[in-house]
């Protein structure tokens, strides 16, 4: 599994030994441990060794899962491993004494545990039994897991040891393929040239890269390089800095082809300066607009839930989805979902972003997103706005650069929001997960518009809990530099010219997955540039023309445009004054039709066929937002649809897309082949490893029927990953005879494994 990472090939392991990464050490271990697999019986449980290292909780076994279901393999982790950073809660149980304790760092445990339950950040619930294990060693391992999963200092996060190790090797050389950013075909926005390119790409002529924060001298939470209006000189900016919360002056995010800009900034801390500063900033942004359009400010703190609200919603939705017994939560499922407010918040962010889209696209004005610190809600809204307006960000690299730009570089506090150190409970908030859910909602509504799949989004969120990636380890780029320096100093690591340790970004997916598994990220339906579509039976090519991409208002009658611009719907007003009120008493179901310009704009857009290479506005009716089942329910065995789920359609599409790719490569080879050299250059079967598709066409039996291992959880498996304690101890018969459990024992027995 991790052989690619090993320098020297290991002999086949006979003894149960932990497979360690560079810099990883075993802290404690205990043998004869039973890992629970089925929820309701010990049948199929695995025997092995439980190991706590400074990186993960590892379970090593010779046993194989009784009936293997597909589970995508991670190169950094073994089949049964859980990174310590992924452990949310450590619970020890002693059955005989009827005791249960949630373990924290540096705690004592007064009983010998018979059972260990790990509640994971990725929603898994994993259980180990110590019935046959040495009681003292079991206890020690439990305490070690509790202790090591709550590091006191960021530098104790495994990534430091892992990356640091490479510097002890041959300096400057690539070790274990870790090459941060190198080989990645995407900007990380840590250098001016990448910002320059983005300025050019979006045609933001009146904007420039500013480097006053080089070395983080003016603001620790801002990136070293960012983009500002040309009309603002460095001197001006330095002057304004101190009036903004945490010195976070306005940052340019993106430019609409019509010249309108999307800008984000912190609040102005000095009320006396408020007006003056607002004016200066707005006039500078107006000057950068080719039509000198107005600037509107959108106060996110006022209009959106705060980070504590979001955290509370997330905790509740998790409670409903995975903690509560399946059948019990079934009865009030819909109202429980509603009371969690998670979908309401997802919708609020989508809606707010769509309204900003309307301002940029429909009203041609620039927009400033303002938030107290500009490090949380702004990240979500600015990314969503750009996803809706710019098809570039719907490609895989485009999306990654968006996260890099609006989250990592903009200083989203990943360290605190993820609560990697487990001591920032009040700061913990799943902003990034919320963003991914919003993205999923758009994908769900426009499945051909994105180059990547929901599996990609899920895997991306899981990567937050593998603490080796620069992306999710820090609160801001400056913190990465500072911690790198400290760590290097304390460990005598020669850094040379480098400013920070070379943590790989999560975007280097080869760190975690084989090229074959990375194909799971590719959406076979993606309509990218030059993709074909069929209209009325004829094949056409998509061309991204300026016309259909930009303003949808161009073709509108000027009267309507005025209505939109005025912010008054005169038609609605007159209507209101005439017919409807008089009819109202009679028409119990007729409400006054007062359509806001925004609503009209959306409705107008919806009434035309969607151009996937143009603006995309999600449908915002509450009935059209769904629970992201793969993310929330993938580990829940009862919710897993055997041989079903969206993946069965994906399978079919993937095969067809693969076939199309093969034909295209065949065509290319034919065109490359000169008639004289046919013998050698005749296309043979195209190299399958070049295919972007996970499921290949024409491969043996798979060609038409759905593989047995597919389920709605694919490419994850609930087997052994969701052992809720509550079900245990309930006699199987009672479980089955419950009025609302439908499948027979036979089927359940087959499905449970």
């Amino acid at each position: 599994m991790q052989t690619d990472l090993k320098k020297t090939p290991q002999p086949p392991i006979k003894k149960l030994e932990a497979k360690l990464l560079p810099g990883e050490i075993v802290v404690n271990e205990v043998s004869f441990v039973r890992k629970c697999i089925g929820a309701d019986s010990s049948h199929g449980d695995l025997w092995g060794k439980l190991i706590c290292t400074n990186f993960k909780v590892s379970f090593i076994t010779h046993d194989a899962l009784p009936k293997q279901r597909f589970q995508v393999a991670n190169r950094l982790l073994g089949e049964h491993d859980v990174p310590l950073a992924c452990v949310e809660q450590v619970v020890t149980v002693n059955d005989a004494k009827g005791k249960q304790k949630v373990l924290c760092s540096n705690q004592k445990l007064k009983f010998n545990p018979t059972e260990l339950i790990l509640y994971c950040k990725d929603f898994r619930i994993i259980r180990f039994r110590f019935d046959e294990a040495g009681p003292q060693s079991a206890k020690k391992v439990c305490l070690a897991i509790a202790h090591y999963s709550q590091p006191a200092d960021p530098q104790l996060l495994f990534g430091f040891e892992y990356i640091g190790k490479q510097y002890y090797g041959s300096l400057g050389e690539q070790v274990n393929g870790v090459d941060p950013g190198g080989g990645l075909q995407m900007p990380l926005f840590d250098r001016p040239s990448e910002w320059d390119r983005e300025i050019k790409r979006t045609g933001a002529a009146e904007w420039r890269v500013c480097s006053i924060n080089e070395g983080y001298v003016v603001s620790p939470s801002l990136p070293e390089y960012f983009v500002v209006p040309v009309s603002l000189a460095d001197q001006d900016l330095k002057q304004y800095l101190c009036f903004f919360t945490a010195h976070r002056i306005p940052l340019w995010c993106w430019n609409h082809p019509n010249g309108s800009a999307l800008v984000r900034m912190a609040s102005i801390s000095d009320p006396l300066q408020q007006r003056k500063l607002d004016q200066r900033i707005c006039s500078a942004i107006t000057k950068s607009h080719p039509q000198r359009s107005d600037v509107l400010k959108s106060d996110l703190d006022k209009n959106l839930p705060n980070i504590q609200d979001i955290q509370a919603a997330f905790v509740k939705v998790r409670q409903i989805c995975v903690i509560e017994p399946f059948e019990e939560s079934e009865e009030k499922w819909l109202s429980s979902m509603e009371s969690s407010r998670w979908l309401e918040y997802v919708r609020a962010f989508l809606k707010h972003s769509a309204e900003v889209v309307y301002l940029l696209e429909g009203k041609h004005v620039s927009v400033i997103l303002q938030e107290e610190e500009d490090r949380d809600l702004s990240c979500v809204v600015s990314s969503l706005v750009q996803l809706m307006l710019d098809p570039h960000f719907r490609s895989l690299t485009g999306f990654q650069s968006l996260v890099q730009k609006e989250w990592v570089m903009a200083g989203h506090r990943f360290l605190h929001r993820c609560n990697h150190l487990k001591k920032n409970d009040k700061e913990e908030s799943p902003l990034f997960q919320l963003f991914l859910d919003c993205v999923w909602q758009i994908i769900n509504q426009y499945p051909a518009a994105f180059e990547f799949t929901e599996t990609y989004l899920t895997v991306l969120s899981d990567s937050m809990w593998i603490p080796v990636f620069s992306t999710f380890l820090f609160n801001c780029p400056q913190q990465r530099t500072e911690n790198s320096m400290d760590f290097a100093k304390s460990k005598c690591i020669p850094m040379g010219e480098e400013k920070a340790l070379r943590f790989p970004p999560v975007w280097d997916w080869s760190q975690q997955f084989t090229p074959k598994d990375q194909a799971l990220f590719n959406n076979p339906m993606y309509v990218g540039k030059g993709a074909t579509c069929v209209q009325n039976g004829t094949v056409k090519s998509f061309r991204r023309t300026k016309k259909n991409y930009s303003s949808t208002l161009r073709g509108m009658p000027s009267s309507l445009r005025n209505i939109l611009m005025d912010g008054h719907d005169s038609l609605t007003l007159s209507r209101r004054n005439s017919l409807v009120p008089r009819l109202k008493p009679d028409f119990s179901q007729i409400r006054e039709v007062v359509e806001s310009p925004t609503e009209r704009f959306f409705r107008d857009w919806v009434s035309r066929p969607a151009d996937l290479q143009g603006m995309l506005i999600p449908q915002l009716l509450p009935s059209h937002l769904a629970l992201w089942r793969l993310y929330f329910l993938r580990w829940v065995p009862e919710a897993s649809i055997p041989k079903g789920g969206p993946v069965t359609a994906y399978h079919k599409l993937s095969q067809l897309a693969d076939e199309v790719e093969k034909l295209q490569s065949q065509l290319r080879q034919y065109k490359g082949a000169t008639p004289a050299s046919t013998t050698t250059s005749t296309p043979s079967a195209p190299q399958s490893d070049h295919s972007r598709m996970y499921f290949k066409a024409g491969s043996t039996h798979e060609s038409s029927s759905t593989p047995e291992y597919l389920s709605s959880s694919f490419p994850f498996s609930p087997v052994g990953n969701m052992c809720r304690r509550s079900i245990l101890g309930t006699p199987l018969s009672k479980f089955l005879n419950g009025a609302k459990i439908w499948l027979s024992t036979e089927t359940l027995a087959n499905e449970a494994l």
Partner: protein, 612 residues
């Protein structure tokens, strides 16, 4: 003058497109897409059965759209449809609905001071429509109202339902889609344990059953009659489906006439024993009573009831807790309030929950899943009944068969399933839908069939590649169940259909559907053989069918993007294959000498089987 049709293919096409996801008529905004062939306005139809002397065209009528507001235009009413067109908007706004969907027409308020009068139409397809116009001197309101009352409710007015006048000719006779004998033959019947009896040839044993019935071989016809006496409405247990391997069967019937005194019937007991004996794999029989046990017990007061386990020794009785038609009707009424015209944004999920609609869907699916599971995994035969055995029983047997038998998941197989389990076994469509009947408060009306189609849709969501048909197919079936354009859903039983000579006098919906299968085909369909579907019956997976219940909302974008994209890829593949073949021919021609070459390029690719 707007002309209407029938007998003319393109027009029918247009009209039937009114639910097409790609066309506009799906919602009020529908008419905005220029793509739709609005042949309606073109004068290309000369003769038509649709016209009547009372055809009414009213100018300057206001349609009060709950989404866009008041629209002024022309309203036309024929004996088949209501057609409203507003020319003020670009593109023109068109509302086109068959009068069959109208459940009730009501005058709203009296004439106001301004002389405006209005009336509302409550529709069976979730919509409500409101019109208003100036009070004319010739009292136009009255006449339009009367025309509507007359043609929306032909049955109440002694007029024929429009299906009897619709004269469209299709290449296929849809009435031949279902041949009971052929279907039983497909199932391997008759066999050593089951026979087809002619005892009900003239509907004498049971007038709500079909003429072809499958019963255990060792029960002679005379005994069947005695069993019929013990079953409500004479609906004896008969075979619906048999497992091709285990021989476990799904049989259906009505409740036993047990009554308060716990009456028994030796013949009925023997009969059920025979059903059990016909399956060598199991020594047990499961009786699934669709009702809540309380309701089943209450039925004893009316002479009905359920099988006591004393009387039926090897049978196990299970109640499935599905509520009756009145509860379901009430649930749909609440659902309509929640989804039409607008959705209240703040409490969507709890509002939806309070309608209990999905809960009912869940119970029905769960019941069907238990039946399918018993038959497939338990290899045990099952008997399914409710009270009369024509509502909940039809839902359960047909859904279980859909899970068990891939044939019913094809387009034609599904048609057979409906013809068999619903139409031939006497689901009372006429009563449940109230075709052409103005009595909208009739307690016999209930959305039983709609629930079934909703359940089917839920399964297709969980298994997107397991069905040959698409969502549009299901919507089309529902729309035409109300439209009264086709004879398929007329009457209450096979006997009535024969008597009314429906196959002779009307067109079958399947004739229309099978004439353009492409429209209804799911391109992702994979014909897995012997694949039993076990959907997950959980609120976590059930969802409101927005493509049906919320389709009138103009904020909803109708689309089937996955299917669309698949078709595009198919077209792309075909194009590439053609080009590769051309190039290959070129290469072969030019280098005819190199014949020793192994393998030609095209051979390296095994084309994936396609279903389009």
């Amino acid at each position: 003058m707007v002309l209407f049709l029938t007998g003319h293919y393109p027009i029918v096409h247009v009209f039937c497109n009114s639910v097409d996801s790609t066309s506009t008529s799906r919602s009020d905004r529908s008419a905005h897409a220029a793509k739709t062939p609005y042949a309606m306005s073109s004068d290309n139809v000369s003769t038509s059965t649709e016209f009547s002397p009372e055809l009414r065209v009213a100018k300057d009528v206001t349609y009060i759209c709950p989404y866009i507001g008041a629209l002024r235009g022309t309203l036309t009413v024929t004996n088949y449809r209501l057609f409203f067109r507003c020319m003020d908007r670009e593109p023109a706004f068109v509302l086109d609905l068959p009068l069959g969907v109208v459940s009730r027409v009501e005058k709203i308020g009296g004439a106001s001071s301004r002389g405006e009068v209005s009336y509302g139409l409550v529709c069976k397809d979730i919509r409500n429509l409101r019109f208003a116009h100036k009070q004319m001197e010739d009292s136009l309101r009255k006449s339009i109202f009367e025309i509507l009352m007359k043609f929306a409710f032909p049955v109440s007015n002694g007029l024929p339902i429009f299906a009897f006048e619709y004269g469209q000719v299709y290449p296929e006779n849809g009435w031949k889609v279902y041949d009971a004998q052929a279907e039983y033959k497909r199932q391997g019947i008759p066999n050593e344990s089951w026979r087809i009896t002619k005892v009900n040839d003239h509907y004498e044993v049971c007038d709500t059953y079909p003429s072809n019935l499958v019963v255990p071989v060792n029960i002679p016809d005379e005994e069947l009659k005695r069993v019929a006496a013990f079953r409500a409405k004479g609906r004896i247990p008969v075979l619906s489906w048999i497992h091709p391997e285990s021989q476990a069967t799904v049989t259906r019937c009505s409740q036993p006439m047990v009554g308060v005194n716990g009456k028994r019937s030796k013949d009925d007991e023997k009969y059920l024993q025979a059903i059990m004996d016909a399956n060598a794999q199991s020594h047990k029989l499961f009786i699934f009573d669709a009702r809540p046990s309380v309701n089943a017990a209450a039925n004893k007061m009316k002479g009905g009831g359920y099988e006591s386990e004393d009387a039926y020794q090897n049978a196990e009785l299970v109640f499935l807790d599905i509520h009756n038609i009145h509860v379901m009707r009430e649930s749909l009424r609440k659902l309509k309030e929640v989804v039409y015209p607008n959705i209240e944004e703040s409490h969507w999920l709890s509002n939806l929950e309070s309608t209990h609609w999905l809960e009912h869907i869940k119970l029905i699916l769960a019941g069907a899943l238990r039946i399918a599971d018993k038959v497939e995994s338990g290899k045990t035969s099952v008997v399914v009944h409710c009270s009369d055995g024509w509502d909940r029983t039809a839902q359960l047997t047909s859904l279980a068969m859909l899970m068990l038998d891939g044939h019913y998941r094809t387009i034609r197989g599904f048609q057979v399933l409906l013809e068999k389990e619903w139409l031939s076994f006497g689901h009372r469509f006429q009563l449940r839908i109230g075709h052409g009947d103005k009595n909208h408060t009739d307690a016999d009306r209930s959305p039983v069939f709609l629930q079934f189609i909703d359940c089917v849709w839920q399964i297709t969501r969980q298994f997107p590649a397991a069905f040959e048909f698409n969502e549009y197919f299901l919507v089309t079936i529902l729309d035409h169940m109300y439209s009264c354009l086709f004879g398929t859903f007329m009457c209450n039983s096979e006997q009535q259909r024969v008597k009314e000579e429906l196959p002779k006098k009307t067109v079958s919906l399947w004739a229309y559907i099978n004439s353009q299968l492409e429209e209804f085909t799911n391109p992702l369909y994979v014909n897995y053989s012997n694949h039993v579907l076990f959907p997950v019956v959980s609120m976590r997976h059930l969802e409101l069918w927005v493509g049906y219940y919320i389709r009138w909302n103009p904020r909803m974008r109708p689309q089937e993007p996955v299917h669309q994209r698949y078709k595009e890829l198919l077209a792309k593949r075909a194009e590439l294959q053609k080009r590769v073949e051309e190039l290959q021919r070129d290469v072969t021609n030019r280098s005819a000498s190199s014949t020793e070459r192994a393998g030609s390029p095209t051979r390296s690719i095994t084309p994936v089987q396609t279903f389009v």
